[in-house]
């Protein structure tokens, strides 16, 4: 009888203890965005953050030359995706821009896409056209053509992937390379890479 009571007590203690140790975060709807997400063979939000943090840290540490106290101006160039996966390359560039702007290291030009007239650059040109040609804007306050600041640097990038696997697991390797090129001289003044390797079990 006493043994039965003790066994029951131990059983209850074990169940309560294990329940107390369960991680409640897994059950919440909103997961912290700085945490690793559901394992995916492609690039997920956490991978983007790892790339952005590495690149921004490297760029801040390197620093950028300025002319007589002027902050350098960077323009976001293309980041080419050479992988079979859909990677939001623009998001990487924009996140880097956000963090560099917060740091005060450089300014960014968004006037980069004159030919296509799309995106934020296209909207900027449309606004200039509206101010100068629509006749709706007070000429005294209209911003004139030809005053856009020329970028000192352009940020280019490439993303590659190599995938291997066996019957149990797929290994996805991604390599992100970003390069900052000085427009005036065409010289690359900064470059860095971030490797991401993910092992995804096959179902």
């Amino acid at each position: 009888m006493k043994y039965t009571v003790l066994r029951s007590f131990l059983g209850v203690l074990g169940v309560v203890g294990l329940a107390g140790c369960a991680t409640p975060m897994n059950t919440s709807v909103y997961r912290p965005p700085d945490e690793e997400g559901i394992a995916s063979r492609g690039v997920d939000l956490h991978d983007y953050q790892l790339v952005v943090e590495k690149m921004v840290t490297s760029m801040l540490k390197h620093g950028l030359q300025t002319d007589a106290g002027k902050k350098p101006v960077i323009s976001l160039g293309p980041i080419y995706n050479h992988t079979p996966y859909n990677i939001e390359v623009r998001m990487i560039g924009e996140d880097i821009r956000t963090e560099i702007l917060k740091s005060g290291l450089a300014k960014f030009s968004t006037a980069t896409d004159f030919a296509h007239k799309g995106g934020e650059s296209g909207d900027l040109y449309k606004q200039l056209e509206f101010q100068n040609e629509s006749g709706h804007v007070d000429a005294a306050t209209a911003k004139k053509y030809g005053q856009i600041v020329g970028a000192d640097y352009v940020l280019f990038g490439n993303i590659y992937s190599v995938e291997r696997g066996n019957e149990r697991i797929t290994e996805a390797n991604f390599k992100f390379t970003l390069t900052l090129t000085e427009v005036k001289t065409g010289l690359a003044v900064w470059s860095d890479t971030q490797l991401i390797r993910k092992n995804i079990p096959r179902r």
Binding site: L6, E36, T98, K102, S103
Partner: protein, 136 residues
């Protein structure tokens, strides 16, 4: 009869020890000194945070924390830095991602980061196990 009592005590202590392992080990300022706060008994038996250094690079605070895997086997950790301003208020930045850190047996790790803005004058650093199943 007595053996069940001992078993019960061992089980209770073991479970409590397990529950204590949910929190990361942090390096944080207490007064004018930096202290390593080992919130997890289990994690503290895997990684030892031993040294902290800072310097200014391009006007930004660069931080390095040295740690060592004190176990005789490979372990995967994650770490992150959280940046604070001069008043101790956390800065709003994306630069606080948990970063993977795989350490071989007895290997020494240098966890480094650079502050995202000149306003960052202080930091917190936290280490935890990489696998969620180890963080219970």
């Amino acid at each position: 009869m007595r053996i069940f009592g001992i078993l019960g005590a061992v089980l209770a202590v073991g479970l409590m020890g397990g529950c204590l392992s949910s929190a990361p080990t942090t390096v944080e300022k207490q007064g004018s000194e930096y202290k390593v706060i080992a919130n997890s008994f289990l994690l503290n038996n895997h990684i030892r945070v031993v040294e902290r250094s800072t310097r200014l690079v391009n006007g930004l605070l660069e931080a390095q924390v040295r740690g060592q895997n004190i176990k005789g086997k490979d372990v995967q950790f994650e770490y992150r830095f959280v940046w604070l301003d001069k008043d101790g208020i956390r800065l709003n930045t994306e630069m606080t991602t948990w970063k993977p850190l795989a350490l071989h047996a007895k290997e020494v790790a240098f966890m480094t980061a650079i502050a995202p803005t000149p306003e960052a004058t202080d930091f917190l650093m936290a280490v935890r196990f990489a696998q969620q199943s180890s963080r219970w």
